[in-house]
Structures are given as C-alpha cells and as structure tokens.
C-alpha cells in the first residue's frame, strides 16, 4: 500500500522528466535547427542568460494582468447586482451584455490601441474587457441561485431585501464568483499578451514577438514558459483565496 502511494506521487514528475529527456534526445539525435525547436537544455541556459530581461518584462505583463483583472472585478460586481436585482435595467442591459460577451474581445485589441495609445492603458483595457463578462455572468447567475426554500425561510422571518442579500444571496453567489474569476484570470493573461502583440515596448508578449522576429527561438520558449508559469500561479492564488473563504460544502 505504502509503495503504491509513492508510485502515485512520483508518477507525474517521472513522466514529465521522461518527456523532457525524449525531447532533448530527439532534438540532438536529429540535429533539429535551434530556430525551429531548441532543446530543453538550451532553453534553460538561455533563460538564465536573459533572466533580468525575462523578469522585468514578466513583471510588466503580470501587473497589466492583475490590475486589469482587479478592475474588472470591481466593475462587474455592482453591474451584476444591478442586473440581478432591478427589473428595467436588467431587461435593457442583460441582452446587450450577452451580445457583447460573444464579441471576441482580443479582436478589439488593435482598435483599443488606436484609441488609447501605446502605454499600459490599452493592455489593461483589453484585460478588463476579457475578464468583465465571465465574472459578471457568473455572479448574476450566483445571485439568482438562492434556493426557493431558503428564500421562503428568509421571507417567513420578514427579512428585508438587504438582509436576504447579505445573509443568503452573497454566500450562495460566492462559489459562482470564484468560478467566474478562475475563467477570467486565464483569459486575462491571454488578453494582456495579445494587446502586447499589437503594439508594445515591454512585456512578455513583446519579448516573444521580437525574439521570434530575430529567430531567437530559445528566448521565445523561455518567455512562453514564464507566461505559463504566471498564468498557473495567478490561477492558484485565486484558488487559495477561494479555499480560505469557502470552507463549507453544501
């Protein structure tokens, strides 16, 4: 049994390491040109060599992503409350929201850049756009998810709408909020990079763009790996917060 548990734990790292070895050996034995597919060892040395540039550009992208995500969160929560609890605005706004949601937001990146210039603002705006809708739609669904028997219970106590909101709707909506946030944060990183592709002087998207343009494929790989790492860490951070806030199971 004990051995079995160790096998289970070790399985994933072992498989990953094996894949890396296969990659390394394939590239070496077929002498694949570096600009097409660099070996893992080459990517690693390049990453070390370019560490300061990777770090500073990574930080730029991280900040754009985080600021855009938090701004989207702040904007979507009141919007969700309005849509969930008011009749007329809901009937006018929600169809528009659902329509806007289907626009591929990254396709707007060139336009947003045209309107807002070259700084961080267009990148943050794109991140806000991609994050806003998944959070909004999930929170609206969450605010409406309170089960009827629980609503009846609150009503039987003559609870005010505010009291019902605080004591019932918010806790019920919380898991939905986190679902929205986890979808949004994955989109957020993509949004930031695409916005950087359009026009930028810094950021990982910019680094990927210029390194591929100069056939510096190992550096592009290193930047993509760092980007993946940022994405995974942000997702994990949200999950940590979720676990701390939602310590119940239905």
């Amino acid at each position: 049994m004990r051995a079995n548990r160790w096998t289970k734990r070790a399985a994933t790292p072992v498989v990953y390491a094996a894949l890396l070895v296969v990659w390394e050996l394939t590239v070496r034995s077929f002498a694949v040109p570096q600009w097409i597919l660099p070996a893992p060892s080459v990517i690693a040395t390049t990453a070390l060599q370019w560490a300061p540039e990777l770090a500073s550009n990574g930080l730029v992208t991280l900040i754009e992503t985080a600021v855009g995500f938090l701004a989207a969160l702040l904007l979507s929560l009141p919007a969700a409350a309005v849509i969930a609890f008011t009749d007329l605005p809901r009937r006018i706004l929600y169809p528009i929201v659902l329509g806007l949601q289907s626009i591929p937001k990254v396709a707007l990146a060139p336009l947003v850049t045209l309107w807002l210039g070259l700084g961080e603002l267009p990148k943050i705006t794109i991140v806000i756009l991609v994050c806003f809708f998944p959070i909004l739609v999930n929170v609206v669904a969450g605010l409406e998810a309170a089960p009827k028997p629980m609503l009846d219970l609150m009503r039987s106590l003559n609870a005010s709408p505010m009291m019902t909101f605080r004591r019932l709707r918010v806790p019920v909506a919380l898991p939905h909020l986190f679902t929205g946030c986890k979808i949004a944060i994955t989109f957020a990183v993509i949004g930031a990079v695409i916005a950087e592709f359009v026009a930028a002087q810094r950021g990982l998207g910019y680094l990927i763009l210029i390194s591929t343009a100069q056939a510096q494929t190992p550096l592009a790989f290193a930047a993509i790996l760092l980007l993946t790492l940022i994405s995974v860490l942000l997702f994990y951070a949200i999950e940590r917060v979720e676990r701390r806030l939602i310590d119940w199971s239905p």
């Binding site: 629980m150 009846d152 039987s156 106590l157 009291m163 004591r167 119940w248 199971s249 239905p250």
Partner: protein, 255 residues
C-alpha cells in the same frame, strides 16, 4: 399567551385559465389557541399549500384567514416554521443557523444566544453548536431546524412533514421528543404529516383531507391523556383512533 387561527372559505388556485390548478379548499377551520392540530391526507392534496397560506408566504385566492382575531398580513415573527427540507445554511455553523431569526429580527444578542444554546441542549445538539450542518445526520438537522423555528419564541408553530424524510426510528424519537416538550411549551401547533401514528401521538385533533382540491373530510378529536409517552401507541383508544383515520383515508368519499 398563545394565539389561535381561523379560516373562512379559504381556497387556493394556482395559475389561470386552462392551466389553473385548484389546489385547496374551500376550507373552514378554527385552530384554538394552544391546541395541537395534525393534518393528514394524500400526497398533492394541498397540505403544504395550506401551511404556506397560514404562514403568510402565499396569498389565498378566496376566503379570509385570521390570526389572533386579526386578518393575516404576510409572515410574522409570531409564527415559527419547520419546512419539509431542513433548509440550514451550509456556510453557517449550527448555532449561527439557529440564531438566524434573532439576526433578522434584530433581537438582543446575548439573550438570543443563551436561548439558542438552551434549545440546542434540549435537543441534544450542544456538542454540534460550532459544527457545520454537513456534519449532522438527517434527524439532527431537523432538530436544529426546530430549534431555529423556536428561537424567537413564536406563538404558533407550523410543521410541514418535518420528519418525513427520516427513517422510522428517528421519526419516532423526534415525535416523542416533540410531544414531551409540547406540554411545556403550550403553543399552538399545526403539524402536516403522512404518518397517521405520528399525527395521533402528537395532536389534540387530526384533520383528514380529501384528494386535490384538498378539503377537510373529517375532524377527529384525539382524547388521549397527556403527556403522551412511548407507551401511548399501545393504548386501545390510540389504536382505535388510528384505525378510524386509516379507514377514512383509504375509503373513497361518498359523493
């Protein structure tokens, strides 16, 4: 001071036109202050509908409902409800759940807390006060829901098949528990149940309802001495009343 209730020609229809469902009534009924009334009847005959009308959660289509001599105007803190499903909030502890009425009604914090702890002790849930409902068995959840319904000291208690989803042993245990404490509480109570034995064990009166639209088909006095105990079901009179109700339910009404 407990309160009574009075229904005059009360009926309820859901929906309109071709979709209309006549769920209940018309019903004329007087529930005396301090009495324990049980309602039995086939599934879908309008028992829950009746309870929701009495609770002020729904509005009757016709007729008048009065509580303590005054027309009913929506839900009131004088009425405690135990729903069929326990509806405890999974994110709150058992104690917080029981304290919900105090929070909503803005009752003074400390006395409410003391009362909640007392009720939890009475129902044998003291050790679970700080636990989440997920750690409770079905019977314990219903006991917690009962504590919550009693917290604000309501004059009238409405119970909608509170033990319906539980196993037979737990039901009997909770029935006896309710019976024991009933005598002290001296409140008005309306219990909906599909268990004839439970109805006879607890109630002063058992109302037998007809199939939908539910009307009161019989009103049977349970003249068994109180306190009712674990031996009550062996009383010949108990068996006799139970049999009478069973026959009423299973023989079709004469038209």
């Amino acid at each position: 001071m407990s309160q009574g209730m009075r229904l005059d020609g009360v009926s309820k229809t859901f929906g309109e036109g071709a979709q209309a469902v006549e769920a209940l009534g018309p019903i004329d009924l007087v529930i005396e202050a301090g009495s324990f009334v049980a309602v039995v009847g086939p599934s879908g005959c309008g028992k829950s509908t009746l309870l929701r009308l009495l609770a002020g959660l729904d509005l009757q289509t016709a007729g008048r409902i009065a509580r303590a001599g005054r027309p009913l105007e929506g839900p009131s803190r004088d009425v405690g409800i135990v729903f069929q499903e326990h509806v405890l909030f999974p994110w709150a502890t058992v104690l917080e759940n029981v304290l919900l009425p105090a929070d909503v009604l803005g009752l003074p914090r400390e006395p409410a807390r003391a009362r909640a702890l007392h009720l939890l002790e009475l129902t044998g849930l003291s050790d679970f006060a700080e636990k989440r409902p997920q750690h409770l068995s079905g019977g314990m959840k219903q006991r917690a829901a009962l504590c919550r319904a009693l917290l604000a000291d309501p004059q009238i208690l409405l119970l909608d098949e509170p033990f319906g989803a539980l196993d037979a042993l737990t039901r009997e245990e909770l029935s006896l528990f309710l019976s024991r404490n009933w005598d002290e509480l001296g409140r008005t109570a309306l219990l909906i149940t599909h268990d004839i034995e439970e109805a006879v064990l607890l109630a002063d009166r058992v109302l037998v309802m007809s199939p939908r639209p539910g009307r009161i088909r019989a009103d049977i006095a349970v003249d068994l001495p109180r306190p009712r105990t674990i031996d009550t079901p062996r009383d010949p009179r108990f068996v006799e009343i139970k049999q009478k109700i069973r026959e009423l339910i299973f023989t079709p009404a004469e038209l």
